[in-house]
Amino acid sequence: MDYSYTVLILLLPFLSFLFLGLVGKWLSHRTSGLIGTLTLGVVAILSYYTAFQYFTADRVDGVFQTLVPINFTWLPFYNEGLHFDLGIMLDPISVMMLIVISTVSLMVHIYSFGYMHGEKGFQRYYSFLSLFTMSMLGLVVATNIFQMYMFWELVGVCSYLLIGFYYTQKPAIAASKKAFIVTRFADLGFLIGILIYGYYTKSFSFDFANTAVYLNGAQPTVGPDFAKAIAGAGFILPTALFLMFIGGAGKSAMFPLHIWLPDAMEGPTPVSALIHAATMVVAGVFQVARMFPLWIQYAPNTLHYVAWIGAFTAFYAAAVACAQSDIKRVLAFSTISQIAFMMVALGVCLPEGDFTNNHESLGYMASMYHLFTHAMFKATLFMCAGCIIHMVHSNEMQYMGGMHKYMPITHITFLIACLAISGIPPFSGFFSKDEILVAAFQYSATMGWIMTGIAAMTAFYMFRVYYGIFWGTENVEYHREHQPHECPATMTVPLIILTLITCTIGWILPGTFGSYVSATGEAYHISLDWSVAGTSVGIALISIGLATWIYSGARQPIAEKLKATFPHLHKWAYHRFYIDEVYQFVTHRIIFAHISRPIAWFDRNVIDGFFDFLAWGTNATSQGIRALQSGRVQQYAFVFLLGVIALILMLIF
């Protein structure tokens, strides 16, 4: 089957970016928006067609084939046959990601018509969206780790440009800078990981069959350094993988590299929905999943760290989310927490036992499943938040409350998404989260209960926000002034579409997701573990009830009382446990003040001073010697005489 048309999936958004970027200035808002959206529409259709073609194709030995329709050497490295390729690779997870990205991106493109209406820089916005979509698609279809890194950097820059879209506002500038620098710092780990990996495996390719041969110590077929391969297998690969994971942790906002994501909410809300909820932030999860065959085979012990980092991040973010008052911040922390769930699911995979139909495959599948469902409902949540912000002109909950009267569609979609993220059946989040919990319980009971507890916190803070926005204390005066009403169709239609997906995907595909996406590529049948599912649903319902009890009323005595009882806890959680301040201290007070400034001073005064001293010294010496050339004949004659005497004396003795 011919898949070479898939190159259009990358090419079209790139052309749209170039076109809008270069001539957008002379186009009307409407035209440029239409160009961007239509291009994306075509890309989405192509992606669906690819997925259809791919998943209906025959399996070979029960496994979907990994196809590489296009691959060429882009930048050759000459030693030891390494090369930097660009290409397209189709396998179950990349095809799944194609669906996720193109769907959410298309929805965001449509939604932005309404949300960004009349904004200055509308054309620029659409051109950046196109560039981002291209980069993200390029990242998921990468054939090798270096291509992934390249597009990884590109999505980082797009994220920078889009967070800083309102570039006249200080918080947006600071947030964009922070996002880029923090992720760049993490990417350093990724880059070093790639360098190590490339050196020891002689390849950047995701075709792990050959990699495995080198590292098992078996006689490799083509020109490898045999001894090096054996020496490398012990700790080199886990190190390389963990370094790559650091890059992934930066993009996916794992603790302690999460600090950029909440600030990134300064960007336009559709951007948050696309980049900072559904696609770019899961790149880290995707990267671990992509390298998963190596993780499970060569670095299972390092995988534990991934699991525990994920668990801690999930807890931390959930705790912070409970105390935020800015609705986008709450959603940002909830994103961090949910991505951490996916990381945990990958991390709890263990290599023991039968590789097929066992729990190690479950975690992988659960992670990808959750990635898929989360992208849909989290994008919905963000877009709903966008609708509200669009009407209220503020992110703060104090200006909201009672919105259910004014915006019924937004209200219902937000509620469904909240139920989904809380893990209430029959919405999609229930199915994927349940799988993660099952996998966590199989790993260890502790992990299982921790994750169940965090799931309960999720339900609590989501419903706190829900009540805060749609019920609770209404800011009547403010609403009278601003007259909120339902958003235009361009904004509500994407909400409805995404909500429909959330409502149906779980039970339309009961057990079938696993038959498409699994660690080994073989069909994996999902069966609900009703004991785990029952517990988690029960706990989630209790949390929702608790949130209802505390936050649904017009007056909230219990919330006030709680705040008053634990003032420090609230303050610390509100300030995100002061992690940002720690970073601020390290970068400004230590690196800038105690490294950069002294270096700059040293350069100007010591090194440069030395050369100035040389020049000054030469000059001073000349000044000194100048006295000898005085031009006075008597002095010359005197010196001459002295010389003659000296010579005579020397000749005599």
């Binding site: 050497t73 882009w74 930048l75 050759p76 490295f77 000459y78 030693n79 030891e80 390494l82 930097f84 270096f146 390249m150 597009f151 950097e153 590109l154 820059v157 920078y160 800083g164 570039y167 006249t168 200080k170 500038i173 600071a174 964009s176 800078k177 880029f180 620098i181 760049r184 710092f185 350093l188 880059l191 070093i192 360098l195 190590i196 490339g198 050196y199 090096k228 690196i591 800038f592 490294i595 950069s596 400034r597 270096i599 700059a600 350069d603 090194i607 440069d608 050369f611 100035d612 020049a615």
Partner: protein
């Protein structure tokens, strides 16, 4: 007559025509015609070179020609090019072309010196004779003094004097080195290829002699390539120089250093290079990190870019000293990439300075809304500087890092990892600068009245951006062209990785 000599003859004719030219129009006409001819010539040369290589001509240097010049010292006028010099000539062609448009309003005398400087640069890259190379190096150096001293800004006399004296001091080292090599190889030939391959009367240079001449030659060229700690002329010189001179200086002249280090110091003294490279590796590696860190706290735009140049040029020397084919290919790519992006940077800074009359980061704000074209150019230069994929910096840096990592010992690994941190620091200083001067709201009444780039400025900027993006998107042909010439040199040097590790 060999057509490579046109690279020297065209500037000579331009000098003559400039002398005759009257009025700004004629001067501009001469400059535009001449620099376009040079650019066209360098593009044609590239195409012809690629075609000849594809046609199977695998000689080390193509289009060679040689005439006796000064018999007693065996100085000959010898020209020839390989992939590295073709890349450098292409770079020079682009920078001289764009530099002409950037210095649109300058007077006749300025252009005279500017053209003389270009002649030195082109002559340097086509030379195969050490002495001729040295001579063109000096030709390129002297005009710099006048260009900065007369048409510069700020403490220009001090900067011009400092730059010239330091580079002159370096050329004294260089002269020692060149004569050392000449006599060390038997005193029969100045031709680089002859000395390298022990033909034409040259014999192997004794190891002990190599160990003397290698550091001297390397420092001689290294000063121009901003080798730490001999880089301090660069911030002062660049910040005082007029725009086009900064472009030419950082874009091309600093490449003379890297090119010379590779072509003479390492290629002709291979054993010493293997033995002693670690010393310079430490210096270059220090420069990479040091330059980047001190760029973080600069407040003058030109100082910032000058320190960033120290970091990036340090990377060139760093990669050359890694002595692997990939790293050296990366070094040449980095020379090309840095030349283009720093030229773009200096052009944009100069144009902003010309309008706002200040280069202080703290006094500039919100330029994006006032002068969008220049601001976008500035932002692209910044992104190229921090290694955005799709622009040239990424290609060069990745080639260097992968190449450097081929040296498997701890010493090289640690240095490589230290050097990679510079890309994070680069992000810090670039984004800090971009955030401060381009974003935000412009409130200064003078700055609000600024007009955006004129057509000739736009032309220069567009050409530079096109080149940067061109290399960044399609690096394959360029990388192959350079590697085709680097690989034989590396084979010749016959590097043994462990040999140059002092801690093994």
């Amino acid at each position: 007559m060999n057509f490579l000599s046109l690279f020297v003859l065209i500037p000579l004719m331009m000098l003559f025509a400039l002398w005759l030219a009257k009025g700004q129009k004629q001067i501009r006409a001469v400059m535009v015609v001449g620099s376009s001819a040079l650019l066209a010539l360098s593009i044609l040369l590239t195409l012809k070179f690629l075609a000849d290589r594809a046609g199977g001509n695998s000689a080390e240097m193509l289009y060679q020609a040689s005439f006796t010049w000064f018999e007693p010292l065996h100085i000959r006028y010898s020209v020839g090019v390989d992939g590295i010099s073709v890349a450098m000539l292409l770079l020079s062609g682009v920078i001289v072309f764009t530099g002409t448009f950037v210095s649109w309003d300058m007077c006749k005398e300025y252009f005279l010196w500017f053209t003389l400087l270009s002649m030195g640069v082109f002559g340097f890259f086509i030379s195969v004779d050490m002495f001729m190379m040295f001579m063109f190096y000096e030709i390129a150096l002297i005009p710099m003094y006048l260009l900065i001293g007369v048409w510069g800004t700020g403490p220009k006399e001090y900067a011009a004097m400092k730059l010239t004296l330091m580079l002159m001091g370096a050329s004294a080292f260089l002269m020692m080195g060149i004569f050392g090599i000449y006599y060390g190889a038997g005193g029969q030939t100045m031709n680089i290829l002859d000395i390298a391959h022990h033909t034409g009367g040259a014999h192997v240079i004794e190891f002990s002699k190599q160990c003397i001449w290698f550091p001297i030659t390397f420092i001689g060229f290294g000063v121009l390539g901003a080798l730490f700690p001999f880089h301090t002329w660069s911030p002062d010189g660049h910040s005082s120089a007029p725009t086009a001179v900064s472009m030419l200086h950082a874009g091309v002249l600093m490449k003379l250093g890297g090119y010379g280090c590779f072509r003479i110091a390492i290629f002709l003294l291979p054993e010493a290079a293997n033995e002693l490279s670690w010393i310079f590796l430490i210096l270059a590696g220090t420069g990479v990190v040091y330059g980047a860190l001190s760029a973080c706290v600069q407040t003058d735009l030109k100082y910032l870019n000058a320190y960033s140049s120290v970091s990036h040029c340090g990377m060139v020397l760093f990669a050359i000293l890694m002595l692997t084919t990939t790293a050296s290919t990366g070094a040449v790519l980095q020379m090309l990439s840095h030349g283009l992006m720093t030229a773009l940077f200096f052009a944009a800074i100069g144009m902003i300075y010309h309008r706002a009359h200040t280069r202080d980061i703290r006094q500039l704000n919100g330029l994006m809304t006032v002068i969008p074209f220049l601001s976008v150019a500035f932002a692209i230069a910044g992104l190229a500087n921090l290694g955005l994929p799709g622009l040239s910096g990424f290609v060069a840096e990745m080639t260097i890092f992968v190449g450097s990592f081929q040296n498997a010992d701890t010493f090289h690994r640690v240095l490589t990892i230290a050097a990679t941190t510079s890309i994070v620091v680069a992000a810090v200083y670039i984004l800090r600068m971009v955030g401060k001067i381009l974003y935000g709201k412009c409130t200064d009444p003078v700055q609000l009245k600024m007009h955006d780039a004129r057509w000739e400025e736009r032309l220069a900027i567009i050409v530079l951006i096109a080149c940067i993006a061109g290399i960044g998107l399609t690096p394959t042909w360029l990388s192959h062209m350079i590697e085709g010439s680097v690989a034989p040199m590396m084979n010749h040097i016959g590097h043994v990785a462990s040999q140059c590790n002092p801690f093994l």
